[in-house]
Amino acid sequence: MTVRELVDTLNLCIVSEGDLCRNINGCYIGDLLSWVMSNAQSDNVWLTIMSNINIVAVATLTDVSCIILCENVSPDEECLKKAQLQEINILKTDMSTYDLAVKLGAVL
């Protein structure tokens, strides 16, 4: 499944658009950046409520296919700017992290 297909399937909102054709392979959930750095795998979807600029560097280094901000969290302006510059996919949803994870589990 691609990021674009996931957006359409789960009705997610695109807040920063990179390569939406990237494939998705699995999911990692976490807000502590060292844990995410250590455990998120390339092509994972990363679910978090962290929305500051540092998530962009972590997404770049872990090579996740997209970040999904849950619980209706929005990235701050600095984060959004950097994500757009680095072409990192950031999506958002008003679903809780759990609800989104359950839905992801059904479609991935």
Binding site: W35, M37, V56, T60
Partner: protein
């Protein structure tokens, strides 16, 4: 300089979280261009990011020198920060001296130094209170 060695220097600015991780991201791009395998890039990127973040949070910034040969990637992070009082304690998972405002950004999990050790092939820390810390990360490139 050996013809087979590529040397790169990055500067890390203290307390500037908007640029934290830029050196690690830049090196990742270089390693990709050199056709280094994703597994090896990961082994370098995770420790280097952790050490870079430590420099931003705890030290007064500093320099990162990277030497790349066909066999190894050697990253040396040098700062003039406060030094590490108890290195054994700092190496324990979960131990952190990060302040609350740093933790709110998602840091301070106490996994920085343990992650460096876990992912690199070898690490070396030299630290002196009031003088600074040098973290060396070694990653081998299999033939």
């Amino acid at each position: 300089m050996d013809n087979n060695t590529l040397n790169i220097r990055y500067e890390v600015v203290a307390k500037d979280f908007s640029r934290a991780g830029e050196a690690s991201s830049a090196l990742k791009k270089v390693l990709r261009k050199l056709n280094i395998s994703p597994d090896i890039i990961r082994k370098v990127s995770i420790p280097m990011y952790e050490a870079e973040i430590n420099m931003v949070i705890h030290a007064n910034g500093g320099y990162i020198d990277v030497d790349i040969t066909p066999e190894t990637i050697h990253v040396v992070l040098t700062d003039n920060g406060p030094g590490i009082a108890d290195l054994e304690l700092a190496m324990q998972e979960g131990y952190s001296t990060a302040t609350d405002n740093v933790r709110e950004l998602g840091f301070g999990a106490g996994m920085g130094l343990p992650n460096i050790k876990k992912y690199s092939d070898d690490m070396k820390i030299t630290t002196q209170l009031g003088k600074g810390t040098t973290v060396e990360i070694f990653v081998n490139i299999p033939a």
